[in-house]
């Protein structure tokens, strides 16, 4: 009987969720961040970490928020969902952070979505999957544009170009698989027919065999590739090498000038939807995002000696959203900050201009994207 009581007590204690405690009123504002700095998604996490650290330094140098310093508690998940869960628990229980920014990938975010919601921990993810905010969880937001919006842009551009029959190539990893599914779902409505639909291993070193199959499929007017590096560059090169001369559309994962370098001359003419960060020089001065983008680009490239990418921008936006929430709520109470975030309207970010609401936890619509292309080795806005 005694043993049963002890066990019941232990279970009872363990099962008590940690409700969002009111934030300590003194001391720095702790903001947690989970990024995939190393590992297979490091092209996301590394620029995200660099961006956020740079931004925190800048904000602290300018006096902080509500008169306090921001203290960043950064965890490197290596894109592992298990580690993301473990770090989320640490940030919630031990560090008691005000909010968590990240994770970098959709897979990791989905693993901690429920955990954060249950613990009333504010989570602003840097991953793109629609399921992160649909169904809406009160405490969970995301800053990247939606995959479906990227695909809408691609299909609209295709319609303008008179393309109705396409081939779809995707990698077998999370991002590729999600894109493939969206493409398949949205194609019929857009009047696009997918004639060839192939999945390749994300570590593939050569894709000429799949592209040969596409080449031999009659009627293919364009190829859509949904993957990350290095496959993005390999597809572009292989297409030219075997003489497959149709337009190539890439996903918004192509958003780094380095990828153009890697594909070299083969990248010319590639079309892909992306945020305006990559073409900031072409924006009119009055554009709401121009000043912010120009400053971010200049500072990032000067400090880290590498090209700025849209991925780092998602972390920039996530941190800005949290800080804007704190300022609007004029409080460090997590619930008040959460409510304030839902009331944010017209906040310029790197990915677009954010308008949040209780139903919309992404805050971006189609206008956040622009269709870009590669000309003379540079990104430029695609003009019809």
């Amino acid at each position: 009987m005694k043993r049963v009581l002890i066990v019941l007590l232990a279970v009872g204690l363990l099962a008590t969720p940690v409700w969002g405690r009111d934030y300590e009123e003194k001391g720095p504002i702790k903001i947690g961040a989970i990024f995939a700095v190393t590992g297979p998604a490091s092209f996301l996490g590394a620029p995200e970490q660099k961006t956020v650290e740079m931004l925190v330094d800048k904000i602290n140098a300018e006096g902080g928020v509500l008169g306090r310093r921001i203290q960043l508690v950064l965890k490197d998940s290596g894109a592992s969902p298990e580690k993301a869960v473990s770090f989320a628990k640490t940030l919630i229980d031990e560090d008691n952070v005000l909010a968590i920014i990240g994770p970098s990938t959709s897979g990791e975010t989905m693993q901690i979505k429920q955990l954060c919601e249950e613990n009333k921990m504010l989570l602003v993810s840097c991953a793109a999957a629609e399921v992160i905010v649909n169904p809406v969880a009160k405490y969970v937001f995301k800053t990247p544009q939606k995959d479906s919006q990227a695909i809408t842009w691609i299909f609209n551009t295709m319609k303008d170009m008179g393309i109705t029959k396409i081939a779809v190539l995707s990698s077998n990893a999370g991002f590729g698989a999600a894109g493939k599914k969206q493409l398949e779902t949205m194609a019929p409505e857009a009047g696009i027919e997918i004639l060839s639909n192939e999945v390749y291993d994300k570590r593939a070193t050569d894709l000429t065999d799949i592209l040969t199959k596409v080449k031999s499929t009659a009627g293919v007017q364009a190829v859509v590739n949904w993957s990350i590096v290095p496959a993005q560059s390999i597809v572009a090169k292989n297409m030219k090498q075997i003489g497959l001369d149709v337009p190539l559309f890439q996903s918004h994962g192509f958003g780094n000038p380095k990828y153009v370098e890697q594909a070299g001359v083969a990248a010319e003419g590639t079309l892909f939807p992306a945020g305006r960060l990559l073409v900031v020089d072409e924006l009119p001065d009055k554009h709401p995002q121009k000043a912010l983008l120009a400053e971010y680009k200049t500072n990032y490239e000067a400090k880290h000696n590498e090209d700025v990418s849209t991925f780092g921008g998602h972390a920039y936006d996530a941190l800005m959203v949290v800080i804007e929430g704190i300022k609007k709520a004029d409080s460090l109470n997590r619930d008040k900050v959460r409510d304030a975030i839902e009331r944010i309207k017209g906040l310029p970010g790197t990915a677009g201009v954010y308008d949040f609401s209780p139903e919309d936890h992404t805050g971006l619509d189609l206008s956040a994207f622009e269709m870009l292309t590669v000309k003379d080795g540079k990104f430029t806005i695609y003009k019809k």
Binding site: E198, D206, K240
Partner: protein
């Protein structure tokens, strides 16, 4: 009517992949022949060759960068053998194999810290990203011809080395019967170091020549090692030409599998064929059942 140029295109595509596997398999095969060790860090030698060459390319012309990179990787191979294998009390093959697995992980991490996670590549040796050489309606990148050429040169040189030089013969003696070789005055330890160094050099050169095709990044070693290992086994361990044949066969099998089935199944088909081949000829397609070239673990 089947389109001949289409078949040729698939074949060329198969050769492209196959030549990559072949060039990795040669290195695997060499260390196995000389020492009986299956070097699971072979993929990392390939990765290092590419990475070092890319960095050097910023300072020196491409051929010099490749040459120096090969030497650097060879020295790394020798150093690894001296540090990790020479001091072993019991040279159990199994221990050594497991050490190579550990080494592969460590080398990857070191590469990540030295270079970072970005993907890089060497420039194409001739032409650029869109050049292609046309044969009868099918096209292939000139870099693939470079890979095939390099593989051929490697095989020929290895053959000459193993058969006609004293050191080469000493290496074969070690693999045949280590004790007898010792009695004949051959220094087994030095032979092992030499074989690691040579294998690393071959891997490093492979890494340079495939870099424009596959791109070079810190994680590229593991999948290459797996396919290279499979190629070496399929061909028959102990014979460098067989390793190349194994690699080309696997590549072509993958390409033709893609032509008929969804691409997602290409690995499955290839490995089924691989297993079938091994059931029929357990020592590899060209391996000798006599056991002369096969060591016990």
């Amino acid at each position: 009517m089947v389109d001949a140029s289409l078949i040729l295109q698939y074949f060329l595509s198969g050769i492209t992949k196959g030549s990559i596997y072949a060039v990795v398999a040669i290195g695997f095969n060499l260390i196995y022949s000389a020492t009986g060790v299956l070097n699971f860090a072979q993929g990392e030698f390939v990765m290092l060759g590419g990475m070092v060459a890319v960095t050097l390319c910023l300072f020196v012309p491409l051929p010099v960068a490749v040459f120096v990179a090969v030497i650097v990787v060879a020295l790394v191979g020798c150093a690894l053998e001296i540090v990790f294998f020479r001091k072993l009390r019991h040279h159990s093959i199994l221990h050594m194999i497991i050490i190579t697995i550990g080494l592969s992980i460590v080398i990857q991490e070191v590469a990540l810290h030295l270079w970072d996670e970005k993907v890089r590549s060497l420039p194409y040796f001739t032409g650029n990203e869109i050049s292609s050489v046309r044969f009868f309606g099918a096209a292939v990148s000139p870099q693939v011809l470079w890979v095939l050429g390099t593989v051929t040169v490697m095989v020929v040189l290895l053959h000459l080395f193993l058969r006609y030089t004293a050191r080469g013969r000493a290496m074969r003696a070690c693999s045949s019967n280590a004790e007898a070789a010792m009695l004949a005055g051959i220094n087994i330890s030095n032979m092992r170091t030499l074989s690691f160094g040579l294998s690393a050099a071959l891997g490093g050169l492979a890494g340079c020549v495939i870099s424009p095709i596959t791109m070079t990044h810190y994680e590229m070693g593991a999948p290459l090692a797996i396919k290279g290992f499979a190629a070496a086994i399929l061909g028959g361990l102990g014979n460098p030409t067989a390793a190349v044949a194994g690699g080309l066969l696997i590549g072509v099998a993958e390409a033709f599998s893609v032509s008929q089935l969804p691409a997602a199944y290409s690995d499955v088909t290839t490995f089924i064929l691989f297993l079938l081949a091994l059931f029929i000829r357990p020592h590899g397609l060209f391996g000798s059942p006599s056991g002369e070239d096969v060591r016990e673990v």
